[in-house]
């Protein structure tokens, strides 16, 4: 299942790369890309694990960029 996530106020390119790297390691996440310019993360996840994955994503994003606001599209 492909999910789109908007990362508002994503402000550093390296942070985007770090987020991508870490999220890719979550169990149940297939492929993931963070596009710094569109501020979007597009990821392929196992549907039934999505709620757990969401929590993980939140942790990772806020660890790397505390001021980013996450919005699931």
């Amino acid at each position: 299942m492909v999910k789109k996530v908007k990362l508002h106020d994503l402000c550093c390119a390296n942070c985007a790369a770090k987020i991508e790297d870490k999220v890719a390691k979550i169990k149940g996440v297939g492929s993931v890309t963070v596009n710094f310019l569109t501020e979007k993360m597009i990821l392929d996840v196992e549907e039934e694990k999505f709620e757990v994955i969401k929590v993980e994503i939140e942790k990772i994003v806020h660890k790397i960029e505390p001021d980013v606001e996450i919005e699931y599209l």
Binding site: C12, A13, A17, N35, P66
Partner: protein, 612 residues
């Protein structure tokens, strides 16, 4: 933004005041420096602390703060404040540049309709296109975007398809015709019956494609992300060595001096400019191509396109229009119109495509009432009795079997006609070469491609004629659909190691060939889901010249990506060397961080502009 400027200005004022303060008032001077530092560093410090409490120690902000505080501790007060001020100014520029490129990208993607005027219970309601159901009627006024794909129920107009195709000539639409979302209605009110949900509509599919394009990463993109991962630890390790080793090993070298140099290293250690350099260029290139009606599904395909060595084309529908039409009429003893009419009337009993193109070429509608009797002779043509005359219409074999002397013609499929045993002329029916295909081979050669190849299921004669006219290097004819893949593989096997092979087809019945090529390009794909699905690059119009444009954009994008890599690496390394020799101080080091980033962002704009 305003707050940032206020901070920078007040920080700068305090710094100047501190520097102007005579040394005799050392306490006041120090207090002013501390105040200047506090003002300019406060926000960065907060972000750094936030990062650290979340366990993210080596972020850009902590490195800057450590560098600045370090400078303060070794009593380089003005430098400490400078670093913070420059960093803030740089961030401001960076934010502006990023915002600007985000804006120009969203402008390219500004084809998404915001609302739909749906007709419910006889009234027009303005709602989100997402909420419109299939089968509902929507009304589109002049100047509005078509929100969903559908069939025109009433009204006629011209629509501007440039957002989808890059084509500026408006296209007429009338009742019963399909209309695609993302077009702009130019005049007249249209009522459209929706045939696809918003999610499946053309505009959503295209946006989706361009947005997710970054998912397919190019080699250079992977390289630079990997490099960036090692870059920071290496620079930090070097900084540590620089601070400790020289003072221990070199006589007269002081810790204070070398710690300062090491702190400058910290400032340059952020890899942001490196990380952004390549994807930004690719994203610009993909956006610039989209503006011209060329959808590239990923950075890796741009990379392959730029290394293209062979271009393989399907003939029918790609290089030619794929429509058979009368090209030449050679009458004998009658006018061209009379010959056409006679041939078309005789052939009117046939459903063969040739009969159809004859009918279409006639100025007056063909009536089968004039036929007294008619008979189709398989593999030869038609024998008919029209207005009391015996008419034979067919190929050369038909003439030969009737022992009628005739003049041979070529250039396509030839239809000969004889009336009462006397040859009356010939009609040449052929597929038409697209106007802009003629310069294609030359353009591709200019782009550095080595070989242009044409594949077709058509006869050898026709294939070679078309290939010669277009200036192609090689042609393979009379191929069955399965043969195309093996011929493509043959071309690929003969290519050099790094040389890529592109295949261009209509995307409808050549999906396996598209998939096999390094870059599969589908043409004339507007509205064809199958083609969009199968290809790596999708050309929305049916102009083969766009292949040249695509290769040019790809090359330009790669050039910009390389420039960005070299630019950011060279500047960073140069600044590191100069810092270690103490030629430049922290102020310049800040440029090595934010300045390089801004340069990379600005350079990538050029990829988006789409100019050649």
């Amino acid at each position: 933004m305003k707050k940032d400027i206020a901070v920078i200005v007040s920080g700068a004022v305090l710094l100047i005041a501190a520097m102007l303060m005579p040394d005799t008032l050392s306490v006041v001077k120090l207090i002013l420096f501390i105040a200047a530092f506090a003002v300019s560093a406060f926000d960065v410090l907060i972000s750094a602390v936030k990062g650290i409490t979340k366990g993210n120690i080596f972020n850009e902000n902590t490195l800057m703060v450590v560098a600045a505080i370090g400078a303060f501790c070794i009593r380089e007060y003005p430098e400490a404040v400078f670093v913070m001020l420059f960093y803030r100014v740089g961030e401001l520029f960076e934010e502006y540049a990023v915002k600007k490129s985000r804006k120009s990208i969203s402008d390219v993607m500004n084809i998404c309709p915001e609302y739909a005027n749906v007709v419910r219970d006889g009234q027009i309601q303005k709602i989100d296109p997402d909420e419109v159901q299939i089968g509902e009627l929507i009304s589109i006024a002049a100047g509005e975007k078509v929100p969903l794909d559908g069939i025109v129920e009433s009204g006629s107009s011209f629509v501007d398809t440039s957002a989808l195709t890059g084509e500026s000539v408006p296209r007429p639409v009338a009742v019963g015709e399909e209309i695609l979302s993302g077009c702009i209605n130019q005049n007249g009110v249209l009522t459209v019956r929706v045939t696809k949900s918003f999610e499946d509509s053309t505009v959503s599919r295209i946006l989706d494609l361009v947005e997710t394009a970054s998912a397919k990463k190019s080699k250079s993109e992977k390289f630079i992300t990997k490099f960036a991962k090692y870059y920071t630890p290496i620079v930090l390790a070097l900084a540590l060595l620089l601070a400790v080793l020289p003072p221990l090993l070199i006589e007269g070298a002081t810790f204070r001096d070398y710690v300062y140099r090491a702190l400058s290293f910290l400032v340059v250690s952020c890899p942001c400019a490196l990380v952004i350099s390549v994807p930004l260029a690719f994203f610009g290139g993909i956006g610039g191509a989209a503006k011209k009606g060329i959808l590239v599904k990923g950075g890796s395909y741009l990379e392959s396109l730029s290394q293209a060595e062979n271009a393989v084309f399907d003939k029918t529908g790609t290089l030619t229009k794929g429509v058979f039409a009368v090209r030449e009429v050679h009458p004998v003893g009658m006018t061209a119109d009379e010959l056409l009419e006679t041939a078309a009337t005789a052939e009117s009993i046939s459903s063969h495509p040739i009969a159809q193109s004859l009918r279409e070429a006639c100025k007056t509608p063909v009536s089968s009432d004039r036929i007294e009797s008619a008979e189709e002779i398989a593999g030869h043509g038609v024998s008919a009795k029209i207005d009391g005359k015996n008419v034979l219409v067919g190929n050369g074999r038909l003439m030969e079997s009737g022992q009628i002397p005739y003049e041979k013609a070529d250039g396509g499929t030839v239809v000969y006609t004889a009336i009462d045993g006397v040859f009356a002329g010939s009609i040449v029916i052929a597929d038409e070469i697209k106007a802009d295909a003629k310069t294609l081979a030359g353009t591709l050669r200019q782009c550095g491609l080595k070989k242009t190849v044409m594949l077709t299921g058509d006869t050898k004669e026709t294939a070679e004629r078309v290939a010669k006219e277009l200036g192609f290097d090689a042609v393979y004819s009379e191929l069955l659909p399965g043969d195309k893949v093996s011929k493509l593989e043959e071309v690929m096997a003969n290519a050099s190691q790094r040389g890529k092979t592109i295949y261009v087809g209509d995307g409808i019945n050549d999906a396996p060939v598209l998939a096999r090529a390094d870059v599969g390009i589908a043409m004339g794909a507007l509205g064809s889901d199958a083609a969009i699905e199968a290809a790596d690059v999708v050309i929305m119009t049916d102009e083969p010249s766009k292949i040249g444009t695509a290769v040019t954009i790809a090359k330009k994008t790669m050039r910009i990506a390389k420039e960005n890599i070299i630019l950011s690496l060279v500047i960073k390394i140069a600044i590191l060397i100069l810092c270690s020799l103490n030629v430049v101080g922290m102020g310049v080091a800040v440029f090595g961080d934010v300045g390089v980033m801004v340069l990379a962002v600005l350079n990538s704009f050029r990829a988006l502009s789409g100019k050649e």
